[in-house]
Subunit: 254 residues, 2 copies
């Protein structure tokens, strides 16, 4: 216990204290959370094991486990058997704006997420899609269509244009395995974003992919991001409106 190979920097338990509000597992959760947000425990550090915390707080392991798992499920901690629990690199981030990560939405609902790449091409010089972006003729643009499924039922169709100059590494990604959305958010810097939410009827292309009738109303989120003046990506996300009710008093345009 005293001499350790120290696979990762390990934290101590100084300052780890319960308040006295509510159930003990929430107190423990808050105590750990406080260590992270205060900066005493920084991303990458290994936190005490369940056993140590169990002793520290004088509770049973299930109680510690509940506190830690609830933090882990929300992405503040990462846990690995035999390795232990480390503070996630994004633990101090707040989802002040949640970029719609379909995968997360689906998996939070306990369903199976799957993904299909439908189309991938470099937009030709005279293609009308180029007009959506205000970029020079030489700039190469990548066009993607992919489908996100929940329990093998189409949940979201993604139609995306990417400015390759702003994100050159994207050409090296195998996009038939990895959805482009999360990768872009995490790897390509951007400074400005604009979203438009509306209800639109599905055209043939969308209806086919989503397994709907042509004209069925969909909820469409359109997002554009820039880095300074440079457009980064433009994406249209189609949700079948009939299959999933939507949060809030959203009324399709008649």
């Amino acid at each position: 216990m005293s001499r350790k190979a120290n696979p990762r920097e390990s934290v101590g338990m100084n300052g780890l204290r319960c308040d006295d509000e509510g159930p003990i597992w929430l107190q423990i959760r808050r105590a750990i959370s406080a260590m992270i947000t205060s900066g005493a425990w920084t991303p990458g550090m290994r936190i005490p094991s369940e056993i140590e915390l169990t002793r520290h707080f004088g509770v049973s392991r299930m109680t510690t486990n509940r506190a830690i798992q609830s933090l882990a499920r929300e992405g503040h901690l990462e846990r690995h058997r035999r390795i232990g629990t480390i503070v996630a690199s994004r633990a101090q981030e707040r989802p002040a704006f949640e970029i719609w990560d379909v995968r997360e939405i689906i998996e939070r609902s306990g369903e199976r997420y799957s993904y299909q790449l439908l189309e991938q091409l470099i937009v030709p010089e005279d293609d009308p899609r180029r007009d959506l972006f205000n970029v020079r003729r030489e700039t190469s643009l990548l066009w993607l269509r992919c489908l996100h499924l929940s329990d093998d039922i189409p949940f979201q169709l993604e139609e995306r244009l990417v400015n390759v100059d702003a994100a050159p590494e994207i050409l090296r990604m195998s996009l038939d395995q990895t959805p482009p959305g999360p990768w872009l958010v995490n790897n390509v810097p951007w400074s400005q974003a604009e979203h438009t939410i509306s209800a639109l009827p599905a055209a043939t292309r969308e209806a086919d992919a989503l397994d709907l009738n042509v004209g069925a109303s969909c909820l469409v989120v359109e997002r554009r991001t820039w880095n300074g003046e440079i457009p980064v990506t433009l994406v249209k996300l189609w949700h079948p409106g009939s299959r999933y009710r939507l949060k809030g008093q959203f009324e399709p345009v008649r």
Copy 2:
């Protein structure tokens, strides 16, 4: 067991089946989830008690409990002691777009949410703020400023303009208790929304409220919603950029 006063309509367990993937508590979770999304169990119905499910699936109560609680925490079920567990009215909704509900964000992080109303007034006829909305001179607009705190530290400043014609009941709300955001989302119909995300320096008004220096950079989300042609609300949400890192490679404009 056979004759019941039936305080609420109660569901049977027909069709409630486990698949065989992953841990049993997730299987049970999916089984219940499937009953809801298939429509066999509809909002307001009382689902079988933990004991009954425990017997049905042949597991221990803690296992059932874990499945149900995880659904309840996400808003698919509502639980009350002695009453039982009912399907939440919003259970079939998908958070296809999560309207930023600060309260939810804060409470999910295990912190204490609190709220202050800073300012509330009907915008005078000649006020420049009227220009933000394209409405007739007679239309009365409500101006609100409120602060959302996490563990008593300012987390988000909300500056909002509401079209009273589109949401007349808002004048009857006691907005010093209830934040206007969630109420509007749930009670006022809208068909279109537009968001802009950017990084801006705090002016005196924002710096004061958020306890920052003037000029400190903030992440600002601006949201406008319409119902058809009619503007409903316009809100600017200020987050102190220094205190909370933000998800993704967001770079403040220099």
